[in-house]
């Protein structure tokens, strides 16, 4: 049952991930991205990471997606018209991506520990918000505050970037 669900969600994620790249219309790409991230959130839940699964849905399917659709609407992007394709560049991109894929499969195939099944959990991870939060405010307190500064800088940067220039 778990294997069946794993392959369902993994295929959902990969098919819609490919649809993001293959669609010519940016709105269709953005909506495929939502479905792909929902499949990914389901995989997180299958790995007993409930908190990560939920923030994945909240942040990506909620905030990031609205931002993408809003920008597509603001710029009034239509489906790309066909331009002259640079076949050398396209072939080069496909070859480099295939080499990367073959390398990943080779490395994972030679990684003996990865053939072992997941060890069972002795306790339920239903309260992992508590566990992640405790770790975040003890061991990772400094990175957490640095990330706060980063978000502040990003906010200020976005405001400055989208302000109209004063003539």
């Amino acid at each position: 049952m778990q294997a069946f669900l794993f392959w369902c969600f993994a295929l959902l994620m990969l098919v819609f991930g490919a649809a993001v790249v293959l669609n010519r219309n940016p709105v269709a790409s953005a909506l495929s991205l939502v479905v792909s991230f929902l499949g990914l959130a389901a995989l997180f839940v299958m790995l007993d990471a409930f908190f990560i699964g939920i923030i994945q849905v909240l942040v990506y399917a909620g905030a990031v997606m609205v931002l993408f659709l809003f920008i597509i609407m603001l710029l009034d992007l239509r489906a790309e018209q066909l331009r002259k394709i640079n076949w050398v560049a396209t072939a080069g991109g496909i070859i480099v991506a295939l080499i990367l894929l073959i390398q990943i499969f080779t490395v994972v195939g030679h990684f003996k520990m990865a053939q072992r099944p997941f060890p069972p959990l002795t306790r339920s991870t239903i309260d992992d918000v508590h566990n992640v939060g405790a770790l975040l405010f003890t061991n990772f307190n400094l990175p957490f505050q640095v990330i706060g500064v980063l978000v502040l800088v990003a906010t200020v940067g976005v405001v400055v970037l989208s302000k109209r220039e004063v003539r």
Binding site: L14, F105, L135
Partner: protein, 107 residues
């Protein structure tokens, strides 16, 4: 039986799809979406390793990786916001989102 290797292969395939999108697409908004796919592929392998490395004393997964994923999601959200603001500023000055039209630095 689903093993760690299956999750790593799925994660690697998703990363490659995002990488191919960055290499092949010419619309800058779609390139940003492909970047998001690559970041999330990294998240998937981190969470899989977290579940694989069960702490023997507590019997819980290793939460360090999940905190790391939390940071990656925060950085990715900030990156999307800044990236889209740059795209809007670029569109205002050049009226295009096609990367081949933006060739001021091209040799």
């Amino acid at each position: 039986m689903v093993t760690l290797g299956h999750y790593l292969l799925v994660s690697g395939t998703l990363f490659t799809i995002g990488f191919a999108g960055v290499m092949l697409r010419r619309n800058i908004v779609t390139i940003l979406m492909s970047l998001e796919l690559m970041l999330n592929a990294a998240n998937l392998s981190l969470v899989a390793f977290s579940r694989f490395h069960v702490d023997l004393t507590t019997g819980l997964p290793n939460y360090n990786a999940q905190v790391f994923v939390f940071f990656i999601i925060t950085v990715a959200a900030a990156e999307v916001a800044v990236g889209l603001a740059i795209i809007v500023a670029l569109y205002r000055s050049r009226q295009t989102t096609h990367v081949e039209d933006i060739n001021a630095l091209k040799f």
